[in-house]
């Protein structure tokens, strides 16, 4: 049985998601401030953004517990925008 102090330190899942999103935002800002660029950097930053949108949809908006067509519709939007932007930035990134 967990002690009272351990139980009080246990964070809600939504709090972990919030901390995770702040961490990914810090990574994105650090990449921007370091002046990093190039195709892998662009894809990495886009990937971080779409991980965050997935977390918002599933954990904050509650799609995690919705039936599959709702989750599929959201995933389709995320995939379409991510892949479209990936194509748009392919070979057009500063060397």
């Amino acid at each position: 049985m967990p002690s009272a102090s351990a139980a009080s330190l246990r964070l809600r899942p939504c709090t972990w998601v919030w901390i995770g999103m702040l961490t990914l935002t810090a990574f994105t800002y650090a990449i921007a401030q370091a002046g990093l660029h190039g195709t892998p950097v662009v894809f990495a930053v886009l990937a971080l953004a779409f991980v965050k949108t997935h977390w918002v949809a599933h954990h904050f908006m509650g799609l995690r517990q919705a039936s599959w067509p709702w989750r599929a519709a959201m995933a389709a939007w995320q995939l379409a925008v991510a892949v479209g932007l990936g194509i748009a930035y392919l070979n057009t990134v500063s060397p």
Binding site: R12, C14, T15, V17, W18, M21, L22, T25, T28, Y29, I31, A32, Q33, H37, V41, V42, V45, L46, L48, A49, F50, K52, T53, V56, A57, H59, F60, M61, G62, L63, R64, Q65, A66, S67, W70, A73, W77, A80, V81, G84, L85, A88, Y89, T92, V93, S94
Partner: protein, 193 residues
């Protein structure tokens, strides 16, 4: 020994069904906007990259933190309503509105600086997209704040309960959509090049 319980799968997501049609329509609109930005940039790479360097990325990052945290507070508000603590829900919603107001102030400051520097929709193609996208999103933040204000007021007066909380979930879902759009908009317009 009882079997572990899994989260219940509902046929519909939280909130009113109509808000989800609104949300998908909004996401479709913003998605087309984002792809238009990306493919227009592909034909004007030097112009877009040079113009983007003049944007204030620090303020953009702070705004991301404000909206993400505001969204988290709204999640806590919905959880409080489900726990039959309507007053606590109102506190979380007022805090979320405070952060949303912070976003508004920083954005107005950014727009004012841009306007003072002579940046308008006709300055160049990049700034046309930058202003269109950020002002369009800004208007959604304003609407979202009004929605949060309405549900916060109702929560404050005990209008929601564990048994009846569709209204607060509907408003919360809209606010999360506003957050989600900014999560893509910030790296796209301010960071990647």
């Amino acid at each position: 020994m009882s079997a572990p319980t899994l989260p219940a799968i509902n046929s519909r997501p939280p909130g009113d069904l109509a808000i989800w049609f609104v949300i998908f329509a909004e996401l479709l609109t913003f998605g087309i906007f984002f792809l238009s930005y990306g493919f227009t940039r592909a034909h004007n790479v030097a112009l877009f990259d040079a113009s983007q360097q003049l944007l204030d990325r620090r303020t953009g990052a702070i705004n991301t933190v404000l909206l993400i945290t505001s969204s988290y507070f709204v999640v806590r508000a919905v959880a409080a309503v489900k726990a039959d603590d309507s007053r606590a829900a109102a506190h979380w919603l007022f805090a979320a509105m405070g952060l949303g107001a912070g976003f508004i102030l920083l954005k107005l400051n950014e727009f004012a600086h841009g306007y003072a520097a002579g940046i308008t929709l006709s300055t160049n193609t990049f700034y046309m997209f930058y202003l269109s996208l950020t002002v369009f999103h800004f208007l959604h933040v304003v609407v979202g704040l009004l929605v949060l204000g309405i549900i916060a007021q109702k929560a404050w007066t005990g209008g929601y309960s564990a048994a009846e909380h569709t209204g607060v979930e509907t408003g919360a879902t809209y606010w999360h959509m506003v957050d989600m759009v900014w999560i893509v908009l910030f790296p796209l317009v301010y960071v990647i090049h």
